[in-house]
């Protein structure tokens, strides 16, 4: 919980990791390049006082994470996302089991999300079932650009991906977090292109698709899809830290999202340990669209901030929110999003 100026915010951190990117766990130069790439994001966009050394960043102790999220960081609940990358890391980068064991030591703090890879075929469906049985999954994190042998990625619209999504629906795993953001692409097949979310979201209207990193650097492509699919959500991980180094750019991102999606489909995520929730939350609560941009983008109300920081994710995960944190239902200050209205401004192709 975070309180400021008489307002209290219930915080659901929608995107956190407990990873091991240390040299001892790296299999090859890709594993080394991946954690260094993360580190560059961390170093480029964090305030100086929150910057770690590469060694600290590669692997951090559990106590530090608990402190950064819940003691210093204002998080009430954090969602642990699984990222396997077993072609690059001996024990995986952070698997559901590793996350789950840590979460069990801190009851009531974490939601553990699983994962699947449709390239695992029939056998993988059974693995997903057992994963769900063990950890009572309410969501999965998908990494469509993950390498597997000769394959450099997959698409949500692949026939096997549909089999897995159907399995998720059958098991009651409703929240599908998809990494669609910067970095890893295969050579000629762009695995971070957001177009496949469009197909899957249409085919599975009962599932929620949370597009992590809002498709950056293809914000526009993401917005067209979210406009047309009511079950597509914007995950703010990676977009959030611009609030410090590029506040006007952040204002544009949040302004565009509020215009196309409305305030009920935007969810906060720190992407810990790339960034720390403490400064992200404090700056977001203090943030306002710069005056000269308010004509285009309007203003961020307290209700919008409450929804983005926790209430929207709480709704997706059926979390019980103490009454004091609630805000009125329905579109508030941002007005109805284009996607909620009967007419859709179709992107000209």
């Amino acid at each position: 919980m975070y309180s400021k100026d008489g307002q209290s915010y219930y915080i659901v951190d929608g995107h956190t990791h407990f990873w091991d990117g240390s040299p001892a766990n790296q299999i090859n130069r890709y594993g080394e390049g991946f954690i260094k790439c993360f580190y560059d994001y961390h170093a480029n966009l964090s305030p100086d006082e929150y910057k770690w050394t590469l060694e600290e960043f590669e692997r951090y102790p559990e106590e530090r994470m608990i402190h950064d999220l819940f003691e210093a960081g204002h998080d009430d609940i954090a969602i642990l996302q699984s990222t396997y990358l077993t072609d690059w890391y001996v024990n995986g980068f952070n698997t559901t089991e590793q996350n789950g064991e840590m979460a069990e030591r801190h009851p009531g703090r974490f939601i553990v999300n699983g994962r699947f890879d449709p390239r695992d075929g029939e056998a993988g469906l059974g693995v997903l079932e057992r994963l769900h049985e063990r950890w009572q999954l309410r969501g999965v994190k998908l990494y469509t650009a993950e390498w597997k042998g000769d394959s450099k990625g997959w698409k949500l619209s692949d026939p096997w991906a549909y089999r897995y999504l159907q399995k998720c629906q059958d098991l009651g795993i409703r929240n599908i977090h998809v990494h669609k953001g910067p970095t890893v692409y295969p050579m000629n097949r762009d695995a971070f292109d957001v177009a496949d979310v469009d197909d899957a979201a249409t085919a599975f209207p009962a599932l929620n698709f949370i597009v992590e990193h809002v498709g950056l650097p293809r914000l526009d492509d993401f917005c067209w899809i979210a406009t047309q699919e009511p079950n597509v959500y914007a995950g703010l991980a990676v977009a959030m830290p611009f609030i410090h180094s590029r506040p006007r750019y952040f204002a544009q991102i949040i302004g565009e999202l509020l215009y196309w999606l409305d305030e009920n489909r935007i969810v906060f995520g720190s992407d810990y340990a790339i960034w720390q929730p403490k400064w992200l939350i404090e700056k977001f609560v203090d943030f306002q669209i710069p005056e000269d941009m308010q004509g285009e983008y309007g203003v961020l109300t307290t209700d919008i901030k409450k929804k983005v920081l926790g209430l929207n994710a709480a709704r997706l995960y059926d979390l019980k929110i103490p009454g004091e944190f609630e805000v009125p239902e329905g579109p508030g200050g941002s007005g109805p999003g284009i996607g909620s209205g009967p007419t859709v401004a179709t992107a000209p192709r």
Binding site: F34, L216, D220
Partner: protein
């Protein structure tokens, strides 16, 4: 129609650009002017764009080294903001850089080397090999996916420049405004739009047009411009992000040639 359209302009580099424009014309004037140098080569490289960021690689700080040997062979090193930057775009930039240098009069062997990238080996070898059989401008190596990818981002760049033009035009804008009228009111913004159309091989007499060159009707215009704004925000934001990451990776000094 005022925009010059060059055959084959669907590729990233137009014939005029690859020939180094006015510099090439001057260097053709006398035999001793055909000697390539760093400035000419830098000017040529400034016509290579990152397709996604819509900015020249020289301005983005992607060219980390450029040197000529005594035999006029040239070596260029390129670097990108992250180890995992999209290899398809990296390929296009390496190939385009090679093409503009090969086209310089008097230049010897051309080596363009991508550094510190997970696919550097494949890209460097692939582009060098393609150069031995492909024509000077076939930078997409006949790959239709790559050509389509490039075209997608050329179209986005065109839409983004139109939004900037619309801002510059202010109340003068209407759906049937011609390129000529726009150029009188906002010359720089109009010129930017026309450069994009040239790259796309797109012909239109209208200041604002769709991907096929047709005017956008008055009732569709506000929606079109709203769409264009999001594209522009996305393109600008990408460039900002990449500049920051490049600086984190290599330090603030990003230009080897002033």
């Amino acid at each position: 129609m005022t925009s010059p359209v060059i055959a084959g302009a669907a590729h990233g580099i137009t014939a005029a650009e690859a020939g180094a424009g006015p510099d090439a014309a001057v260097s053709g004037a006398g035999p001793d002017r055909a000697t390539p140098d760093r400035e000419t080569a830098w000017a040529a490289l400034s016509r290579v764009f990152d397709p996604e960021l819509d900015k020249p690689i020289t301005e983005l700080g992607f060219v980390s080294d450029l040197r000529f040997a005594d035999d006029y062979s040239v070596r260029v090193e390129l670097r990108l903001p992250t180890y995992f930057c999209a290899p398809n775009f990296a390929w296009l930039m390496v190939a385009d850089a090679r093409d503009v240098l090969v086209a310089l009069p008097g230049v010897g062997r051309v080596d363009v080397v991508l550094l510190d990238h997970f696919a550097a080996e494949e890209i460097n070898a692939g582009v060098a090999a393609a150069g031995s059989f492909a024509s000077g401008f076939d930078t997409d190596g006949g790959d239709p996916e790559l050509a389509e990818l490039r075209a997608t981002f050329e179209r986005k760049a065109h839409v983004a420049t139109q939004e900037r033009l619309a801002r510059a035009l202010g109340p003068h804008l209407h759906s049937r405004l011609t390129v000529g009228e726009a150029a009188r009111i906002a010359p720089a913004a109009t010129a930017a739009v026309l450069r994009r159309r040239e790259r796309l091989g797109l012909v239109s007499g209208f200041a604002i047009c769709d991907d096929r060159g047709a005017p956008v009707s008055e009732d569709r215009l506000p929606g079109w411009l709203r769409f264009a704004r999001t594209v522009r925000v996305s393109v600008d934001g990408n460039a900002t992000l990449c500049r920051g990451l490049l600086e984190t990776r290599y330090g603030p000094d990003t230009t080897p040639v002033s």
